[in-house]
């Protein structure tokens, strides 16, 4: 049986600190491959309709 889907992730202590620092940071680590994936994803997202 597969592990149940956990919807919430609670971070405390050093895990919380690392997360806060990551979210606050303006540094962008992008590989050439991920940059391409992101670019294509943004274009594709414009074709989605929710309403």
């Amino acid at each position: 049986m597969a592990k149940p889907i956990e919807l919430e992730t609670v971070l405390v202590g050093e895990h919380a600190r690392a997360f806060h620092e990551y979210m606050e940071s303006n540094v962008i680590h992008e590989t050439p491959e991920s940059r391409q994936v992101m670019r294509e994803a943004r274009e594709l997202s414009k074709r989605f309709k929710f309403l």
């Binding site: 049986m1 597969a2 971070l11 590989t31 670019r39 943004r42 997202s45």
Partner: protein, 186 residues
């Protein structure tokens, strides 16, 4: 052989699809798609998308809304403190490629679709990060880091490593437009 994105079709799972023969080589993930995915979808916990290439099911992924609840951190050892903060997240709950099609960019293309859902959610309801609990093996983790620039975060256990990608970390000039496109307005 690399399969281009446009050669794949993405369809939302429903009762009409036969997924009984799908195998990615991991029994836990195979069990999810065969036994759990439809129930999660009926309960509106997650939605599963099937990926087809030339009428063959070659992969799937399941996504759900999630939340990261980062608790307050006291200043310590010269490091600053932080207040508690919650972020809405798109959780990639499962993703797998048919064994015979692994290494042909199916996973990369499915990840592109996942991020596209994330960027669309950013516009419509708010979504800051994509998170995934990746299988703890080098190949899987390197895949997410290479194609999604995911970072390790949170606790890991014996079998999984939590990975995170901030959708706001986009190079200048490539940020998504916050206005609805003409297509979306129609």
């Amino acid at each position: 052989m690399k399969i281009p994105f446009d050669d794949l079709r993405f369809l939302k799972l429903d009762d009409s699809f036969d997924i009984s023969s799908f195998s990615c080589g991991n029994t836990e993930i195979d069990s999810f798609i065969k036994d759990d995915a439809k129930n999660y979808q009926k309960d509106r916990i997650s939605v599963t998308y099937l990926c087809y290439y030339r009428d063959e099911l070659v992969g799937f992924f399941s996504v759900a809304m999630g939340c990261i609840d980062a608790r307050a951190v006291e200043p310590q050892d010269g490091k600053k403190g932080y207040g508690p903060k919650k972020y809405p997240a798109l959780r990639l709950a499962q993703m797998a490629t048919l064994k015979e099609y692994q290494g042909h960019d199916v996973g990369k293309n499915m990840l592109t679709y996942v991020f596209a859902i994330g960027f669309a959610l950013c516009e419509f309801i708010g979504c800051r990060v994509v998170i995934v609990d990746a299988k703890k093996d080098e190949k899987t983790i390197n895949f997410y880091k290479k194609y999604g620039s995911f970072e390790d975060f949170g606790p890991s256990d014996a079998t999984t490593q939590s990975l995170l990608r901030d959708l706001n970390k986009i190079p200048d000039g490539e940020r998504i437009n916050t206005e609805l496109t003409e297509y979306q307005k129609k």
